[in-house]
């Protein structure tokens, strides 16, 4: 009897092992993307906006370090800080005071620079509608299996972002550009990060699926800069991107850090403004999305020396089936209604003042005209 149980156990172990392998193979195909792209934009001109260039370059550095090659990064810098005549250390852009970290590096490739960074060029890069003579390094050649990271920084306001002190892009234009990208199947999933004043207003109007957005401050709040360097004379980084860079320096290509960790970067105690995020258009749970899904270019390769017999066909990823049925629903779905909050103190006070003045001047009797 015991021997029989023992033999049964011996037989079931290899069977259990191939089951394990099949589940691993199933997991292998569970994330939908096969390549990564990044579009990093700095929209400010002039020397005192040094920090915006440093912001963009620190994200560029992290993204390159985690594996995305230059050919898959579209870097747009609206002004040149590294070789600016006011820079006491030419060919460098520092992110920490006392010149600790040079984010410019020795092999940077800037695709759009100076006057080329305009709203039109940015939207053309996103939607792919570029003139035929545009070189490859200036194009976003993504497909429907690409995960794209979009990072914007500069000066912004409620509902707009300023480009080079002369033009603006509104949140509606951005939402429409992303919808064009969705209709043309130019992305699988998109992560949008913005570090400007009132950044949350820029992602309010998104309505395309598979978008996740992060911003450094809510509507009505300003994003603050971090620290000046007295030798260079300007502020070097913005607070949100500074702590984002610190967080990303800990991430390596094999790390399992997920989006929930990213949402916790720079709480109000450090950032003074309240960072916000939006995940209602994203299908997967943010806790299951790895940082390297967007910031890195992790190739899913597992090397094995054993032959594995797959008995049953590998389950196609459930996500794809869901995608086909959900497309019609999602595109007609309105974005989730925000919860109603009672009016803010300031608005209440203002209305009280108005009513008080009205009744003071005209008396109670006018109520009969109103009611």
């Amino acid at each position: 009897m015991r021997i029989f149980a023992f033999i049964h156990l011996l037989v079931s172990i290899p069977h259990g092992y191939s089951n394990y392998v099949e589940t691993k193979a199933g997991q292998f195909f569970s994330s939908g993307h096969t390549n990564n792209w990044a579009v990093l934009v700095c929209t400010s001109r002039f020397w005192f906006n040094y920090r915006h260039v440093a912001n963009t370059l620190s994200v560029y550095r992290s993204v390159k370090r985690l594996g995305i090659p230059d050919s898959h990064i579209v870097l747009m810098l609206a002004d040149d800080m590294a070789c600016n005549y006011r820079n006491p250390k030419p060919a460098t852009v520092f992110s920490h005071k006392n010149m600790e970290l040079n984010v410019y590096g020795d092999d940077v490739e800037v695709d759009y620079r100076g006057y080329e960074v305009t709203v039109e060029n940015f939207l053309r890069v996103l939607t792919g509608r570029l003139p035929p003579s545009t070189p490859r390094s200036k194009r976003l050649l993504s497909d429907d299996r690409s995960n794209i990271l979009i990072y914007l920084t500069g000066h912004g306001g409620n509902g707009f972002l300023k480009f080079q002190d002369s033009e603006e892009i509104s949140n509606m234009e951005l939402a429409d550009a992303f919808e064009q990208m969705w209709q043309k199947r130019r992305y699988n999933e998109l992560l949008f990060i913005i570090d400007t004043c009132q950044g949350a207003s820029m992602y309010e109007r998104f309505y395309s699926p598979n978008l996740m957005a992060l911003a450094s401050s809510q509507v009505g709040e300003d994003s603050l800069s971090h620290q000046p360097d007295l030798a260079i004379g300007v502020h070097l980084m913005d607070k949100y991107t500074f702590y984002l860079l610190e967080f990303l320096e800990e991430v390596h290509p094999a790390s399992q850090a997920n989006m929930n960790d990213l949402f916790k970067v720079c709480p109000q105690s450090q950032c003074v403004s309240t960072p916000g995020h939006r995940t209602d258009l994203f299908q997967r749970d943010p806790g299951s999305v790895l940082i390297t899904d967007f910031f890195g270019s992790v190739r899913k390769v597992e090397i094995t020396k054993d032959t594995i017999n797959l008995t049953s066909p590998v389950e196609p990823p459930i996500q794809r089936q869901v995608e086909h049925s959900f497309v019609a629903d999602i595109s007609s779905q309105k974005p989730k209604q925000k919860d109603w909050h009672p009016p803010d103190g300031f608005i209440l006070g203002l209305w009280t003042l108005i009513l008080l003045v009205f009744f003071q001047t005209y008396g109670i009797k006018h109520l009969k005209h109103i009611f």
Partner: protein, 553 residues
């Protein structure tokens, strides 16, 4: 089995101490390839070894005969530094000779600038018809080519273009060894851009392999010229080493190079000069009209690197002696206000007794409207009439001005060329985001054959150092020189871009307040109203109404 195309690669570094205390380092990398990109009927070239594929494909796609592109930061000070080996104007300069079989030169030019902007990470796509000219005499082909039709030549310059690490990175990637071995290891951007002058260029042209020109080859030269100014900016003494200049030393030659040499100009040795490690190899060359002696270090030989496997050159010098440049020029804008102005170009001929002609080429953007009837050329306060003038007037928003003149410079004199202009008002969408900075006008180009004190050698040898063989020498008694003037920065009348917003606010406020009040005055009617009774009376009336009893007054 096809025999592979023969290609060879040479690299060289020339270090020349300048009389101002600065040091001039010039890198040249040359790839020679026996192939023909433009031959029709033959299979397209597909196997690239030392020649970079990205450039080869560009040459064959656009049928380019010669291509010269340079990116420069800073201005070459001829009076303090002498003549450079390869001159270049500030900003970006691109001039191309197309093959005579091309039918649509303008279309090819537009696409070529876009492709090059992608290769070099520069905004060369801003080159269009408004800043391209076709010089008739100034930019003759430097390689083979009996092209006399200047319709196949295009020249454009972007004086505002910045040069930084993002331009150096793709430039280094074109080298066969990249920046991993050979002389290119010295190119670290933090040191290269901390300099008075930095210029990197790519020159492609077909050349003859031998005296009789039986076989032709394509030559690609990548040059990088840099002037370090640690002495004049007060950061050091007149003592230099490779490590101090580049923060690196040389450890090996590029394995793909057939020759890898370092030349140091020691014409003033030993009284003024100390060089270590010393070398017995010396070479003499006549370059730019002057006979100079060079110490040669051959990096392909292992003994150059010594015990430490690293080669660090040390120079210490005490005095300075410079040959005064025979030709130099400057340019500036005169006048005041934002309506008119005058461009002055001053050319100096410092030769004591010889006069020689120079070709002056000016390309002025259309928004500075030149009045050519005010053009004057004076030498030694007398009128000097040019023997050849080619002028193409500008067309608004279409074409810039092109002025080419052949002027005879009297010996030991100063020649001044002046022309008046008027500033145009641009449309509000044509201004750059920072219009108060000003608008740039590209450098003037002065090309001349300057008489030489020393006989130049016209022998064609393959062993000539690269720095003396860039420009082909046709006769013994003169050498070719190209001098670039400063670019100009002019202010155009700029509107106040915040005014439309201000005007809208002001007008709407005035209209609202004025019209609103007016409407009220006209339509409001006044009625007499009884004062309301006090609360007690109102309550009493209310109760009386319920009871059905007549109300109080």
């Amino acid at each position: 089995c096809m025999t592979p195309a023969k290609d060879q690669f040479q690299e060289e570094l020339v270090i020349r101490p300048l009389h101002s205390g600065d040091i001039y380092a010039s890198f040249q990398f040359r790839t020679l390839w026996d192939t023909d990109f433009l031959q029709e009927g033959q299979k397209k070239v597909s196997h690239y070894r030392l020649f970079p594929k990205s450039l080869g494909q560009v040459l064959s796609k656009f049928s380019v005969q010669e291509l010269h592109i340079s990116f420069t930061q800073g201005f070459w000070r001829t009076m303090q530094w002498g003549q450079p080996f390869i001159p270049s104007p500030p900003g970006a300069e691109l001039w191309v000779w197309f093959h005579h079989t091309v039918s649509d030169v303008d279309g090819n030019w537009k696409e070529l600038t876009n492709v090059l902007s992608g290769i070099f990470c520069a905004s060369l796509n801003f080159i269009d018809m408004t800043n391209t000219v076709q010089p008739s005499a100034s930019f003759k082909p430097l390689g083979l080519g009996n092209a006399t039709d200047h319709r196949f030549l295009r020249y454009a310059t972007l004086p505002r273009e910045i040069v930084c690490t993002e331009n150096l990175t793709p430039w280094k990637k074109l080298l066969p060894c990249g920046s991993k071995a050979g002389l290119a290891v010295l190119m670290k951007s933090e040191k290269l851009f901390h300099s008075s002058f930095h210029s990197q260029a790519v020159h492609i042209r077909p050349i003859c392999q031998d005296e009789q020109c039986t076989s032709k080859a394509w030559e690609l030269r990548q040059t990088l010229n840099v002037v370090f100014d640690h002495y004049t900016s007060g950061q050091g003494k007149k003592e230099w080493s490779l490590f101090k200049m580049f923060s690196r030393t040389l450890t090996e030659a590029c394995p793909l190079a057939s020759s890898s040499k370092v030349y140091v100009d020691i014409t003033d040795n030993p009284e003024l000069f100390e060089l270590s490690p010393a070398t017995p190899l010396l070479s003499q060359a006549v370059v730019l009209g002057d006979r100079r002696t060079y110490s040669v270090y051959d990096l392909t030989r292992a003994e150059t690197f010594g015990q430490l496997r690293s080669f660090n050159l040390l120079l210490r010098w005490k005095g300075d002696n410079m040959l005064r440049p025979l030709l130099h020029a400057e340019r500036y804008v005169a006048g005041f206000g934002l309506q008119t102005g005058e461009i002055h170009t001053v050319i100096y001929n410092n030769h004591p007794y010889r006069a020689f002609p120079v070709l002056l080429m000016d390309s002025v953007p259309w928004y500075l409207q030149l009045y050519i009837h005010t053009l004057t050329v004076t030498s030694k306060s007398r009128d000097n009439k040019p023997s050849y003038i080619h002028y193409q007037p500008a067309k608004d928003r279409h074409r810039p001005h092109l002025l080419e003149m052949l002027i005879q410079l009297p010996p030991h004199s100063m020649t001044e060329v002046t022309v008046q202009f008027e500033r145009a008002l641009l449309k509000w969408t044509e201004y750059t985001p920072d219009p108060n900075h000003g608008f740039y006008v590209g450098s003037s180009v002065i090309s001349a054959l300057v008489p030489s004190m020393v006989a130049m050698s016209t022998n064609f040898t393959q062993d000539q150092p690269l720095f003396s063989s860039f420009v082909p020498v046709k006769e013994e008694s003169s050498y070719f020189v190209r001098v670039y003037t400063e670019p100009l920065l002019v202010n155009l009348p700029t509107p106040d871009f915040s005014m439309p917003y201000n005007v809208i606010c002001l007008t709407c406020t005035v209209v609202a307040v004025g019209y609103g009040s007016f409407y009220n005055l006209l339509t409001r009617t006044f009625q007499v109203d009884e004062p309301s009774p006090p609360l007690a009376k109102r309550l009493a009336n209310f109760i009386r109404r319920i009871r059905g009893v007549p109300l109080l007054a």
